[in-house]
């Protein structure tokens, strides 16, 4: 390719190539080791957290319908003595789980928490959520590209939003 163009062009080409390699190399160093998930997936779902009701929150977060599944086991108390700290957990036998989220229907913003489950992580989460009042708790499990759910009503005697 360069034989017929003479030494100066060749030199320019080599320098150009070296510059490109340096840039790519440098760029890599700047950005650090790539996390397993693509950058787009790490974005905070601001919009979903702003939604008032469960359907809007689910739509904003996942954009698809969910079906109840008995393979999703939602663990939450019948009655929460303290709405500020309600222990809620989920386990599932569904394969290829990529995401688990918790919705508290009657909260000022229905979406409480959303978790990303990379390959190799067990699809189970235990957390403590605030519940403003008696409400349905819905857990959503995204598995194999589909969305599954389990729902349980939790009675709250003392509300958890400070009121």
């Amino acid at each position: 390719m360069t034989a017929s163009f003479g030494p100066s062009v060749t030199r320019r080409l080599i320098i150009k190539g070296a510059a490109v390699v340096a840039l790519v190399g440098f760029g890599h160093k700047l950005l650090g080791p790539w996390p397993a998930l693509a950058a787009a997936n790490d974005k905070y779902p601001e919009d979903a957290f702003k939604q008032k009701g469960a359907p809007d929150a689910i739509k904003a977060l996942y954009g698809r319908d969910h079906e109840a599944s008995d393979k999703v086991k939602l663990d939450a108390p019948e009655i929460a003595e303290n709405g500020g700290v309600v222990p809620i957990s989920v386990t599932t036998t569904l394969p290829d789980v990529t995401s688990i989220s918790f919705i508290v229907s009657e909260n000022p913003s229905a979406l409480a928490a959303s978790y990303k489950i990379p390959p190799g992580t067990v699809p189970a989460v235990a957390n403590r959520l605030k519940m403003a009042k008696t409400s349905n708790v819905i857990v959503l499990v995204e598995a194999g590209g589909k969305l599954y759910s389990a729902t349980k009503e939790v009675k709250v005697t003392v509300g958890g939003c400070g009121g």
């Binding site: 080791p33 996390p35 397993a36 998930l37 790490d42 905070y44 779902p45 957290f49 500020g84 700290v85 309600v86 957990s89 508290v104 909260n107 000022p108 913003s109 979406l111 409480a112 928490a113 959303s114 978790y115 990303k116 489950i117 990379p118 190799g120 992580t121 067990v122 189970a124 989460v125 235990a126 957390n127 403590r128 959520l129 605030k130 519940m131 958890g160 939003c161 400070g162 009121g163």
Partner: protein, 103 residues
């Protein structure tokens, strides 16, 4: 300065069980103080756990996560002595992180 993060990561067979407790007010922005002024929202938005530079668990939190949040999860593929890095960032831009050894 002492970290806000407490983490316990224990290997059971091929699975590492992780429990984390973080000191954070997780204020919703809906509560008024004694003077009647709203206490501004102050809550952790993202929490991440990394093992060998790879994310093993990522949490997106809203104001409905309880004060001094606790979370428990498990993942496979780690060995005793491996490091687990826990980091969080809140809505006011504060961050904290801690690296713990898997026991």
């Amino acid at each position: 300065m002492a970290s806000s993060i407490r983490v316990r990561a224990i290997l059971n067979g091929d699975t590492t069980d992780v429990q984390t407790l973080i000191q954070h007010p997780m204020d919703t922005g809906l509560v008024k103080d004694a003077k009647g002024e709203v206490i501004p929202a102050h809550y952790i938005q993202q929490l991440s756990f990394e093992h060998n530079g790879k994310a093993v668990f990522l949490a997106d939190w809203g104001t409905a996560v309880s004060k001094d949040p606790y979370v428990k999860f498990a993942f496979k593929g780690a060995a005793k002595g491996d490091e687990l890095k826990v980091s969080w960032v809140d809505n006011q831009g504060a961050t904290d992180s801690l690296t713990a050894k898997i026991q």
